[in-house]
């Protein structure tokens, strides 16, 4: 028996948060894109978009605290130094976007003097004063950040697929919701 091996997987709560937020963020990106293009379904989509965005903001905070408090499984040995740098940087950018997108959306509605309705009579206070010029900046910023998040999602998915199908290093095991064998076969 040698020294204890570092674990192969993220902590269970990290894995649950990852997949839950993946589904929510992807849904948000598609709802957002459909909203902007739609006349007929606009109202229904925006009524989902606002509270779901705030839920994502809350979960992003939970996830960030969790990230600070847990140790990560090591990168697979198949990842080069450069790949590891890219993976770490893109993780930071993804966290930044998970906070920035809902906050910019909330701020944008505040600056545009729109009530931030969640459901029924429940609404959030504005986080910025009503300010037309600010709205004119934040509205397109919200779109640009959303495109960036969608691009980051595609890049992330592409990298995982590349490792899974081409390098075949079982990188998905790190984030799998079910327990997996340790890397050394035990």
């Amino acid at each position: 028996m040698s020294a204890p091996k570092p674990r192969t997987q993220f902590a269970l709560q990290s894995r649950i948060l990852h997949w839950l937020m993946a589904a929510m963020l992807l849904a948000m990106l598609f709802i957002g894109a459909a909203m902007v293009a739609s006349l007929g379904d606009y109202h229904m989509l925006v009524a989902i978009h606002r509270p779901l965005g705030i839920l994502i903001l809350i979960l992003a905070a939970v996830r960030f605290i969790n990230r600070m408090c847990t140790t990560l499984p090591p990168f697979p040995p198949t990842m080069s130094k450069r790949e590891r740098f890219i993976a770490s940087s893109s993780e930071k950018l993804l966290y930044a976007l998970m906070f920035a997108l809902p906050l910019v959306g909330w701020g944008m509605l505040s600056a545009g003097h729109y009530p931030i309705v969640m459901f029924g009579a429940v609404h959030l206070p504005p986080i910025l004063p009503a300010h037309p010029a600010l709205y004119a900046i934040l509205r397109p910023a919200h779109t640009v950040l959303a495109y960036l998040l969608f691009f980051m999602f595609l890049a992330h998915l592409g990298a995982v697929l590349f490792h899974t199908l081409i390098v075949r290093d079982r990188i998905l095991d790190r984030m799998a919701l079910w327990p997996v064998r340790n890397r050394d076969g035990n």
Binding site: A37, S38, L39, G40, P77, A121, G158
Partner: protein, 365 residues
Amino acid sequence: MNASESNPETPPPLSRAGLALRFGIIGAVLGGIAGLFAYVGGWLTPHALSPTAMVDRFQQVNGTFPGFRRNHAKGVCIAGTFESNGNGVALSRAAVFPAGRVPFVGRFAFAGGKPYVPDSSRIVRSLAILFQLPNGEEWRTGCINIPVFPVHTPQAFYDLLLASAPDPATGKPDGAKMKAFIEKYPEAGRNFPVIGANPGSSGFDNSTYNGLNAFRFINAAGEVTPVRWSLVPVQPFAPIGPEPEKADKNYLFDALIAAIHRGPLQWRLVVTVGQPGDPTGDASAMWPADRKQVDVGMLTIDRIESEDTSPTRDITFDPLVLPDGIAASDDPLLSARSAAYLKSFARREGERKEPSAVSPAEVAK
């Protein structure tokens, strides 16, 4: 030595075909998701009607006036108090209806996207109101002085804008285009005579303004009632007089300003209660005239201000900003208005605006 070579699970190398297949799968997954995103975002259907297309159509017909609303461009801002009499509580639990006072801001305007159009009693007039409810909620509504909306769908309205646009050669709408339009949208053929026969009033102050879309009121017991609402003036009706000299470009607004300087103007907020079977999804279909009407309170307008100085300039009268107790109906125009107003708002808020026709000096007169 490559670390992976020491890994006992190093997989055997892939054949050329196997590698190509796997890269193909990756490309298909990424391309499929990106393609679906593009489809949902409307990039693959550029001719579908979108909020952008709707606002572009207004600019196509009216010209582009940076900083102004793309519709209802010429206007003036007002403020006042709504005194609820409590009659609305039975229909809706919205915080606007218990007996008491609620402040509001609003705007009188002409329909259309021309901010310097000379006043004419023939242009559709609007009164938009934003109720500021005590719990921080808002109720925004835009009402106009015609009895029924000419068309049923956003697409029909989009087509109407072009069909009714003045021909540059004659200055009047092209009769052939309007005929083709009415053939395509028979509801317009039915409603144009009704709208034309509506006896117009002499000014902004004695117009009835109708919120033509149906909504749903929900009361404390959860009962849902289809409703429409109107703002009925206390000021006595007077018919449209002769149009004054062309030089008096703001004569209707000037009369409104003078009236408010003399004393407050008042409108009753009247809710028409629909019955089962009354169409709620069609603003081009009137309800029978015998439907119950409930007077829920009085709007008193006592302040008027140029939109150049009023913060009301920088809000939209999005008809779907509603308090709890008032909900959208299945009317497709509501969602379309909400989306198009937001698009127009996003454009004008980033633009440098010229002074409004109804200037601060005009309002001070």
